[in-house]
Amino acid sequence: MNIFVCVKQVPDTETKVVPTGDGSYIETNSIKWILNPYDEFAVEQALQVKAANSGSTITVVRVGGVKDTEALRTAMAMGADEAILIEAGDNVDSYMTAKAIKGAIEKSGKNPDLILTGKQAIDDDCLQVPQLLAQMLGMPSVSVVVGFEQDGDGYVLKREIEGGTIEVYSANSPAVVACNKGLNTPRYPSLPGIIKAKRKPMEKWTLSDVGVADSDRRVNYSNFQLPPEKPPGKKFEAMDEGVQASVVSEVVNLLRTEAKVI
């Protein structure tokens, strides 16, 4: 099987975000980049599918800035076979990203049997690329997937919706599957894996190599700024059992009369 995994490189979740002076994006100089956490579930699923289907190849594709190749190296250290990096700015939109991935898959000459992604990237939280890519490639897509089984030529996929309800899909192959936490437990890259990853092939293409032009931009982001700070709230000391009842009573009263939320 030809398995593609689409990954994004994002700032670590503990990053303190600082908008640039002109508001065009955030300061990226001192950021620690990581493989998008949801993409780890996609890489792990690809490895499990490969283990069950001998002769499979896993190709990881990433569109984005090139300050660091951490995301692709992590995916290959986990066990992916090869990588494609499409060099672009930090702020490409979902449409350009999906179109670039489509172009990269076509340029690779491999017919995909399965395309795995994370359910969303934790930087822009757009949740668009899996569905856009599926539409562009004429494939079905199932998102927020927490259960994955191969079933003959197709897949049985569990998608989580509101309230923990599960929709069980039967999907034809090839398909785009966007993975959520809970699908599997991603393995840690082993030391030999990390060393081997350095020698695995990584193609580097530009956006124009994969047929994406400036005119493909659909969404503009600007005026990045920190959210307004809340004024300091009221704090009550209630470690002492003697005051707890009156503190609780006061807070409930404030919720009714001051905040008016209950």
Partner: protein
């Protein structure tokens, strides 16, 4: 003048509230609504009250259950027929899954999960969070129309002064073609509560709960308040709560009216996911816990003592 279509979902006899939140921002513009299947009278009345002109009920084969391909094909038919400039939907499980597919069919752009927007001169400009709310940015859409937008539930609030619309209902027959992915079964979640992303009140627990069993005291308080129970990543990773309960940058971003954080210290990625809650109550034994910097009302105390007292107090007043 811009023509707007709002895609809506049913929740029982009514449509999801986010539809009315969106309609409430369209005052003076022509706004229609699309639903799949039939619409009860109560829902129709709600939509008309908030300004919906035409209400299209989409019907056809393959639409009994949701599928991205089927619903997208149905919406595309309607869009082509009426030449809409904008298509809005709530940023729900379905909205988030469906709209990018329709946008792809139209080669058009989409703004995901805006928390506010304007339609000055009939042109959309929105605000949306990045990094789960650590910062905000302005979002504008360009290129082929229609432009697509999903809106976070509870973020806009209901506008009471909206002009009513005609609310004319019509059935639209659509053809979806063959589907490559279909739902063969739906397994209901254990909870009959509103999802965290739609909940008006959330009671959330952290690692200090110490066990899954102890979440019961949060359930009790949540039942009194009609709240949904959430959890921090630490609690989920420790196995005290399931992942669909996780609030934060790698879980759900929430915007309830009231968020009660119990035994949550307030890691940066958790704060990002809940900071837009209107009112935040925090209970923690550590007076320096970062959660207190975001709390409107902080109680420095042991949640195992405070939560049962709160539950009793809520019972008294509600």
């Amino acid at each position: 003048m811009s023509k707007i279509l709002v895609f809506s979902e049913l929740a029982g006899e009514h449509v999801k509230t986010v539809t009315m939140e969106i309609l409430g921002k369209m005052d003076g513009l022509h706004a229609d609504v699309a639903v799949v299947g039939d619409l009860p009278q109560a829902a129709l009345d709600d939509l008309a009250k908030y300004g919906a002109q035409n209400i299209h009920c989409l019907k056809g084969d393959n639409l009994e259950k949701y599928s991205p391909e089927g619903y997208a094909a149905a919406l595309k038919t309607l869009i082509d027929e009426h030449g809409y400039d904008y298509v809005f939907a709530g940023s729900t499980s379905m909205g988030k899954d469906l709209l990018p597919r329709v946008a792809g069919m139209c080669d058009a752009g989409m703004a995901t999960e805006v928390t506010n927007f304007t339609m000055d001169g009939g042109t959309f400009a929105g605000t949306r969070p990045f990094f789960a709310g650590k910062c905000l940015a302005k979002v504008e859409v360009q290129g082929p129309k229609p432009h697509f937008v999903t809106v976070r539930p509870n973020a806009l609030g209901l506008n009471d002064s909206t002009t009513a619309g005609a609310g004319t209902k019509s059935e639209v027959a659509v053809s979806t073609g063959d589907l490559k992915a279909i739902i063969k079964e739906i397994v209901k979640g254990a909870s009959n509560k509103l999802d965290l992303t739609e909940a008006n009140i959330i009671v959330s627990g952290g690692r200090a709960l110490k066990s899954a069993e102890n979440f019961k005291i949060l359930d009790e308080m949540a039942n009194v308040l009609g709240a949904t129970v959430g959890a921090s990543r630490a609690a989920v990773d420790s196995g005290y709560a399931t992942h669909d309960m996780q609030v934060g940058q790698t879980g759900k971003t929430v915007a309830p009216t009231l968020y009660i954080a119990c035994g949550i210290s307030g890691a940066i990625q958790h704060l990002a996911g809940m900071r837009t809650s209107k009112v935040i109550v925090a209970i923690n034994t550590d007076p320096d816990a970062p959660i207190f910097t975001k709390a409107d009302y902080g109680i420095v105390g042991d949640l195992f003592q405070i939560v049962p007292l709160l539950t009793e107090e809520f019972k008294k007043v509600l």
